[in-house]
């Protein structure tokens, strides 16, 4: 295994700075959301205060098993993001992410509580809805850059001829943006866990988690969100510093767009979530790949 300096820096930066960036994003999100709703909003650092408060709460749980699953959820989310920023195989990253998310689902199921089971099932539904598009994103990046390795994708592929992958993957980019709404747990697809109290079934998948355990879930989400934006970043890479900058800017713009969508829609039914995301996956993602395959002869 040849380890590049960039990979080590990326990994270290993610492990240390990941939760701070993610938490800060969450704070900005709440502030922007408040402004969109005509409120002033909490301080930017509010998510950190929340987590500190959760940690200080009395430690209670509904059974001896569920904390273990949440711990695994956090560990595997960190592994997933770590593999991503270490420049490893994109498919490996996606599969590990699935395992990580499944730990959260199992944790919710294990409580055998009605509300958290509904949340868990909905979480599974959401995973089923977004997974094809995430895999197609990886396939698309592979087709344009000739590698599943993130460290290679970062350089932009020989096949793309110095162009950024986005040039050939506009449909896939749109599809990814669509399912990112699900992944960020934003309306209209925040079925399993919402930030907005008015449309939630108790507290969805996290109903039976409290105190320190809930804090771990928050931190895991911060970690997760950072590397989800990393996917967006990949679409713009061709190995130059200015495209790296563009990637960061676009990722931030996409985050803003998701916040806007979140505030513009109410929650949809599960049928719509599943059908809409699969339809988008086919019409944008699959169509993009098929066109790429037959007309560009890139493979």
């Amino acid at each position: 295994m040849t380890v590049s300096l960039y990979a080590v820096i990326g990994l270290a930066a993610y492990l240390i700075a990941g939760p701070f960036v993610g938490g800060w994003f969450a704070g900005v999100d709440r502030r922007i959301t408040a402004r969109m709703q005509g409120r002033f909003g909490p301080p930017i650092l509010q998510p950190f205060y929340d987590v500190r408060k959760l940690i200080e709460k009395e430690p209670v749980t509904v059974n001896g098993g569920q904390d273990f699953y949440v711990m695994c959820f956090l560990i595997f989310i960190i592994i997933t993001g770590g593999l991503f920023f270490f420049g490893q195989n994109l498919l490996l990253v996606i599969f590990t992410l699935t395992t990580a998310n499944l730990f959260l689902v199992i944790g919710a199921y294990s409580s055998n509580s009605p509300y958290s089971q509904i949340g868990a099932e909905r979480e599974l539904l959401q995973m089923m809805a977004y997974e094809p598009m995430v895999l197609l994103t990886a396939v698309g990046l592979y087709m344009t850059t000739g590698s599943f390795n993130i460290s290679d994708i970062m350089l932009g592929g020989a096949l793309a001829g110095g162009a950024i992958p986005l040039k050939y993957l506009i449909g896939i980019f749109a599809g990814y943006l669509f399912i990112l709404t699900i992944k960020f747990r934003k309306s209209p697809f925040d079925l399993s866990l919402s930030h907005h109290a008015h449309q939630e079934l108790v507290k969805g998948v996290t109903t039976e988690f409290s105190g320190r355990t809930l804090a771990l879930i928050e931190i895991a989400h911060w970690y997760e969100n950072v590397f989800l934006l990393g996917f967006i970043f990949l679409f713009f890479q061709n190995g130059t510093w200015y495209m790296a900058l563009v990637g960061v800017v676009v990722a931030l713009a996409c985050y803003f767009l998701e916040i806007f969508i979140d505030n513009a829609f109410a929650r949809m039914k599960w049928q719509f979530t599943l059908k809409a995301s699969w339809l988008v996956t086919i019409t944008f993602g699959a169509a993009n790949l098929i066109l790429l395959y037959y007309f560009k002869g890139l493979m």
Partner: protein, 670 residues
């Protein structure tokens, strides 16, 4: 050479012995000894033939001419006798189609062998041993015999549950061991006539095993399985006649050599193509691919060890074995490959993977979920073989190995659960963690092994995905991404049911038989061992095999996963195994009641409903009948696969016409 014959004969001798042992107490030691002997011998054969080195690469053996001739006649005699048995049974149960199929295919073969020139064809090598067949020998020898051992305990309970019915267990165990013997025959044959002989024996064994209980449903389903497999058998016979008549050979290695030569010369041989297509069709019926998937679902009426055997180490694996063997002659070149065998195999496999995964979502019967998952995974194996690249074959072989172990584990676990909680419904497995904790852990490992990183099946799926992307099988890529998303859903919700901790469940674990624990634990050891050692296994067994199988391929083009990624997976397996040992269930927190809208009665099982009444909590899973309806999926599968068969075989029909004209003009068939 002797080891091979002994390996086929030992299960056969045990089977015959079991036919005459009617006492359970006497049967037990015979089954155990037979199982140990068979398993040990399969390991000996694998070691002796050097599975772990290049030495095993494609060794071919010829028997002595005289004994081969006697064997040939004996096989023909047995085939004729079996055909008569089927015919009589077909008349007895009024199954005309079975009679017709058997009345067509058996005479064709006998005519071909006696009068059609089949007898004159000199077969140099009757037996073929390579790493792939040795892998299959190990799967059959180890998993198959473990299932036989399990069956001893299971059938005791089964007989107990079906009191008043005649004890026909001697017949059951006879069939189990006969099945193993025939499977060894299939995977070691190089002579197509031999392979066909064993092929038909497995068809018959599964027919009798499915019909074991002799209920109306069992008889109906057993005939369905028989008819579908006879259809495949007919295709097999036609393939034999076609290759024998046109090229004067009956050997698989010859067939592949001729095919590869003409393929690399850029002129695909139409006769070889149709032979391959017919053989793959036979494989598709046996591997229960759509539209023939219904026989495997119908097989659920049989006692659970039968399902475990059919799904993991025998029967369906014979189907995929043959298709993987053909893979150098498969493969696709873009959209123009319609009508080539590779296209047919790949598309049928892909469609089956997608639709069977969809159907599994709507099932709450655990055995049906497992059955659909088997069909789906076999679809993936078939598709991987159909793409015909070294990467695809690597993924296919990995899938065969992982699937055999994991699926057998799951079936046997469900069997044990069924006998102890009285239901095979996933909804009744609520709180299995409290009632049968060890079994629940075994099932969880099995399920995780089926779809989750970093375990085996996922590694193979990953390799499969990459090999389709590389080979341009874009349509199958789409089927895989949607199919695997759904796979995640149906396994995930089952996993959730198992892990749920339900209050006040009594532990009934000590009622499970010792043999069952032994076999289940053996499976667990295998699952973990394979997940940890697969990079070694890949490097030392599978890669050397593929290097010989596809001459002149580099190691890089065989491995979809780089060595680094394999090591990462193994490390993750270690992490996932160590974490629960260290941390599961260790909490010093205060335990509080669940939230139930503020009205939990305190026991986590009832809440205070409207009208001040106690209402028991009942949690049910999600089946989405409206989206993934089983009937709809089967109908779509039937139509789409039939269209593909029609397109593919219309090319064969066209070819038949050309051959006919060729003969008219005085070609080779004189």
């Amino acid at each position: 050479m002797e080891t091979i014959i002994v390996l086929i004969l030992i299960p056969l001798v045990i089977a015959l012995a079991l036919l005459f042992i009617r006492h359970d107490a006497a049967r037990r030691p015979v089954v155990f000894i037979g199982a140990i002997a068979t398993a040990a011998l399969s390991v000996v054969l694998a070691v002796q033939q050097g599975i772990w080195s290049d030495a095993a690469a494609n060794m071919l053996w010829s028997g002595e001419t005289e004994s081969a001739e006697i064997t040939g006649y004996a096989m023909m005699g047995i085939e004729a006798a079996l055909a008569i048995v089927i015919f009589v049974l077909g008349i007895k149960y009024k199954k005309a189609l079975a009679c017709i199929l058997v009345a067509v295919q058996c005479p064709i073969l006998i005519w071909f062998e006696l009068f059609g020139g089949g007898h004159e064809i000199e077969v140099k090598n009757n037996i073929c041993i390579d790493q792939f067949s040795l892998i299959m020998v190990l799967i059959i020898g180890v998993i198959g015999t473990l299932i036989c051992v399990y069956a001893v305990a299971y059938m005791k309970d089964f007989q107990h549950h079906h009191e008043g019915q005649p004890d026909r267990r001697w017949w059951f165990f006879f069939l189990l061991f006969l099945f193993l013997s025939a499977m060894f025959g299939i995977v070691l044959s190089n002579n197509l006539i031999y392979m066909y002989f064993f092929w038909e024996i497995t068809t018959l064994c599964s027919f009798f095993l499915i019909g074991y209980t002799k209920t109306d449903e069992a008889v109906r389903n057993s005939f369905r399985a028989l008819i579908m497999n006879l259809l495949g058998g007919l295709a097999f016979v036609l393939a034999i006649v076609l290759i024998g008549k046109s090229y004067g050979t009956l050997e698989i290695d010859q067939l592949i050599q001729i095919g590869v030569t003409s393929k690399s010369a850029g002129q695909p041989d139409l006769i070889i193509n149709s032979v391959v297509m017919l053989l793959c069709f036979a494989g598709i019926t046996k591997a229960a691919q759509m539209p023939f998937n219904s026989w495997l679902l119908g097989a659920m009426v049989a006692p659970t060890p039968t399902s475990a055997l059919l799904h993991s180490s025998t029967m369906v694996k014979a189907g995929v074995f043959l298709i993987v063997k053909m893979s150098p002659l498969l493969g696709v070149q873009g959209i123009l490959s319609i009508g080539e065998p590779g296209f047919m195999v790949m598309m049928v496999g892909g469609i089956t993977f997608l639709l069977a995964s969809f159907s599994a979502v709507t099932q709450s019967n655990a055995k049906r979920v497992l059955a659909y998952s088997t069909i789906a995974n076999l679809g993936l194996i078939v598709a991987c073989a159909g793409i015909g690249t070294p990467e695809g074959v690597w993924a296919a072989i990995m899938l065969i190995i992982f699937h055999a172990v994991t699926k057998s584990l799951l079936f046997l676990s469900v069997g044990t659960a069924e006998h102890n909680i009285g239901s095979r419904d996933i909804e009744d497995m609520d709180g299995l963690f409290g009632r049968l904790p060890r079994l629940a852990v075994f099932m969880i490992i099995g399920i995780a092994g089926m779809f989750l990183a970093p375990f085996g099946m996922l590694i193979s799926k990953w390799a499969a995905l990459q090999s389709f992307v590389d080979a341009g099988g874009i349509w199958v890529v789409l089927m895989i991404v949607f199919g695997s998303a759904v796979t995640l859903f149906y396994w995930g919700k089952w996993l959730g049911k198992l892990t749920a901790i339900v209050a006040a469940r009594k532990n009934i674990q000590d009622k499970v038989h010792g043999e069952e624990w032994f076999v289940l634990a053996g499976h667990i050891v295998l699952v973990i061992l394979i997940s940890l050692s697969f990079p070694l296994f890949s490097g030392n067994v599978i890669v050397p095999f593929i290097k010989n199988f596809f001459t002149g391929v580099s190691e890089e083009s065989i491995l979809a996963l780089s060595g680094d990624n394999m090591i990462i997976m193994v490390v993750l397996v270690c992490v996932i195994l160590v974490l629960p040992l260290l941390f599961y269930g260790r909490t010093r927190k205060r335990i509080v009641p669940l939230y139930m809208g503020g009205a939990n009665e305190g026991d986590n099982l009832t809440f205070l409903g409207a009208m001040e009444k106690d209402v028991p909590v009942s949690l049910r899973n999600w089946y989405m009948e409206g989206v993934f309806g089983e009937k709809l999926m089967n109908r779509i599968g039937l139509i789409s696969t039939c269209i593909i068969f029609a397109i593919s075989f219309s090319f064969v029909a066209n070819l038949a016409y050309q051959v006919y004209r060729y003969v008219q003009e005085g070609g080779v068939f004189s």
